[in-house]
Symmetry: C2
Subunit: 510 residues, 2 copies
């Protein structure tokens, strides 16, 4: 099938099709775009990034086991897809249009954005103001995910590394490798046959720079700690043997136990594995501030100082802080949740008299997470109030919400994971394809949870079974060659696994 | 063999070895470091970048046929190598030390640096001032290459793209893909079934942005034009079919003919191939200035305006200008060439009386290229003048110059190519290994020249034979799996060739 251009329409073919506009290209939006039948719908993806990231392997790319592009799927490689790169800035539910600010001219190495102002526009302001334009829809799927939660803690936004997008992985990889290189300059030596000058970094400086602090004991934080351990002890140990004695990896979490989604036995196995590898796990520790270290260590080497409540005024030094604590609603969702709109009187309920006082609607917001509430069919829920009728809760026609930004009214406990997002997307796409969206409610089926622990060990837990050790690791690797990947990447990922195993990880700092 | 750390010395083993300090990690420096016998010498590479780039495939990475890291070889993967990342800033030939400014803390995605001031420090000033330290040597090999020649033309340094380092290739790849994305936003359409707003970019704007201007008709410029043509017509054509009509690729050169190293017949074959592909070649055109376009096209989309002497005041628009015109001496070489030094009287000539007026030396500089002159054994040549003796030309003990920064006194016609650099490096390393540096002079053996022309065609010329068309292309690809690559990359490069052929080039903008 011939690939087609952005919004271009073949008049004989597409003008009769309904246009489904999808906001987001993550697990929810991309899976929906893939599954939706191009013969029945004109599909238009609006997303600030031009690709889908296979996030479970992000930590592997951040340590050089895999090459970055092997976990990316460009949206435009989907045959017949329409794509507009930009931030969805607002939605007019009355005229059925999405306002978009283009960002294709920005720095394309996208990274996790954290809003500087809770209800403002996306935090990392684009270098140039993009063009603003409107895209109309017949059906709209809001799948634009969530932002990293920083709890407003000082310095996190400015100084911490995140691990949610491919640009994050690249920056983190460069930073870790650069820290080792910075600590490797000629050491003071008892050998006086050469007149090398004395070093600028003391052993204490190196200890500060080679402390890797991970905040958040969920699967992302734990897997990154494990992969980082492998990188350092498999690869960097042979290149910088003198620096190993300065290395420390610490995982901080506020909860009394990490990996809350695993049962006690598996979580304990994980902690025992970490203990043997020398990775420290500090539960019930509350991070209060991150700031640059004083003097040349902070200014020239980017060292950080972390204030932890339990340690009082004794700050901890680190060369890098990886932040992975949870999610919050993104600015578009916050804006939509607070916004009042008036629909044409016939749209909400055709039985209502048209000459009445216009009813004011508002999308339902989940007070705990800030997400948008849907009914069991994944349709956006609205509260409509009119002077005479009080408030009614109905669904908004042709508007769906899936993934991290959605909360199902009768099942608010679903976690914000790739699994939930992709199952919702597949469910909705199939229903739309069949034209029976209001016939079958969404049901989550837990396929189990997996986490890599380093040294070829993993844990896996589902309702049916539990696995740990290298069998779980084999399962972990196998599971990642799923249908969410293109054939291209299904070929390349195992090639890189073999190449990294044979020759070591990619350590070139680029 | 166990890998060893930077300058660390195993006292039983290394203290007796001579230390060979190598400035640079390009074709000359890296090949020398690879070939020099670690059992006989302590090898220390000083280079601002931590890897060797296999430059003949740089254009392939710039269009996504190959992944960037498949053409990088980290210096630290050489067993037993010593490495200091930094700029060699000065050399004291008397005390035999190199002054280094560290740069491991800088942005590691290195790019071509062009000095802003002819004799100043490297142009792109590091974000932080690096640490300064001295490294002593027993033998020194200067192999720090050359800079891109801009002829002082206004705007080249600020607005042109270069193609000499891996960071250049990445920026160029992102820029080209971004230009297509920027031109792809919804077009004005006769279909009014959707209320999309009108576009901001006119057809003329798109024509300006999708003009790819390549300055310099040497192999780099020609190959990039060919690879860019393949990217656009093999891959982007299916994704952005409506944009093809706006695309133009133009190669500008001041000379009456491009590819001067090929004979008339092959150069004509190249031009005929380009003509069929729609690539324009404008010889005898002199670029005089590059500036940003006016208004939103320049500010928001980065469009450029090029002034060409032959066109008078009519400027040409372009979305990107690729600059590949030649080389000039880099700042260290310029500094060394102008510098006076005094050696211990015994060093230069043991027969000279010690109590004499000290003789002032100066390295010989090639007036045409600004490079350092060597004798036929690749030893740096010096002019020494003393009051009574006049000027003598001798060689400087233990200092060698190879690669783009070297000019051999009795063979000044050698081109500045990877072939010359790597042959010089291998020659010198083998002579040092054998301890007979002054026994055999360096002789260049021409292995032939190859250039890719797009559409699976290439040309190849050597003293023995000439090839053109797809046979030359097969030869071109085969020749690139040379011994200069690690086994890792010898595996990965063909994998990517196959993957790109099967599934298209990597088009994710990252």
């Amino acid at each position: 099938m011939r690939l087609r251009h952005c919004l271009r329409k073949n008049k004989d073919d597409n003008t009769k099709k309904e246009r489904v506009v999808i906001l987001g290209s993550g697990w929810a939006g991309y899976a929906l775009a893939r599954t939706l039948d191009p013969a029945k719908f004109e599909r238009v993806v609006i997303s600030p990034r031009s690709y889908f990231v296979f996030t479970p392997l992000l930590a592997s790319t951040a340590v050089g086991t895999l090459e970055f592009r092997t976990i990316l799927e460009p949206v435009r490689r989907l045959p017949g897809i329409g794509f507009c790169q930009g931030w969805a800035d607002d939605i007019d539910f009355r005229s059925k249009t999405v306002r978009v600010e283009s960002n294709a001219a920005d720095d394309p190495a996208s990274k996790t954005v954290v809003p500087s102002d809770p209800v403002g526009p996306p935090g990392a302001a684009p270098k140039v103001k993009g063009e603003i334009f409107d895209i109309s829809y017949d059906k709209l799927v809001i799948a634009c995910g969530a932002y990293s939660q920083t709890f407003g803690i000082e310095g996190v936004r400015e100084h911490a590394h995140f691990l949610r997008d491919i640009g994050d992985a690249r920056r983190l990889r460069l930073r870790v490798l650069s820290l080792f290189e910075q600590c490797s300059y000629p050491s003071s030596s008892t050998d006086d046959s050469h007149q090398d000058t004395r070093p600028h970094l003391t052993d204490d400086d190196k200890r500060a720079l080679l402390h890797f602090a991970i905040v958040g004991g969920g699967p992302t934080g734990i897997e990154y700690a494990a992969e980082l351990h492998d990188l350092i002890y498999d690869d960097l140990a042979t290149i910088y043997p003198d620096l190993l004695k300065f290395v420390r990896i610490t995982v901080y979490d506020v909860a009394p136990k990490v990996l809350p989604m695993f049962d006690q036995a598996l979580a304990k196995y994980a902690m025992d594995t970490f203990a043997r590898q020398g990775i420290e796990v500090k539960t019930q520790h509350h991070l209060q501030r991150i700031r640059p270290a004083d003097g040349h260590l902070g200014k020239e080497h980017g060292a950080l100082r972390i204030k932890i409540q339990e340690y009082g005024d004794d700050e901890v030094s680190a060369g890098v802080v990886i932040w992975s604590t949870g999610l919050m609603a993104n600015p578009l969702i916050q804006k939509l949740a607070g916004k009042e709109f008036v629909l044409p009187a016939t749209a909400a309920d055709p039985r209502e008299p048209v000459d009445q006082q216009p009813a004011i609607s508002r999308l339902s917001k989940d007070p705990r997470t800030g997400g948008l509430v849907t009914d069991a069919f994944l349709r956006a829920q609205q509260h409509t109030s009119s002077n005479d009728n009080g408030t009614k809760v109905t669904h908004l026609n042709d508007v769906f919400v899936i993934g991290d930004c959605a909360v199902i009214a009768n099942d608010k406990t679903l976690p914000k994971t790739a699994q939930v997002a992709s199952q919702q997307a597949t469910h909705l796409a199939k229903r739309l394809n069949k034209g029976d969206v209001d016939k079958t409610t969404f049901k989550f089926r837990n396929w189990g949870t997996m986490t890599y622990l380093g040294s070829w060990k993993a844990i896996h837990q589902s309702s049916a079974d539990e696995l740990k050790g290298w069998i779980a690791w084999v399962f972990w690797r196998g599971a990642y060659l799923t249908k969410s990947m293109s054939v291209r990447n299904k070929l390349l990922v195992p090639v890189y696994w073999v190449v990294s195993w044979l020759f070591g990880r990619g350590i070139s700092r680029f």
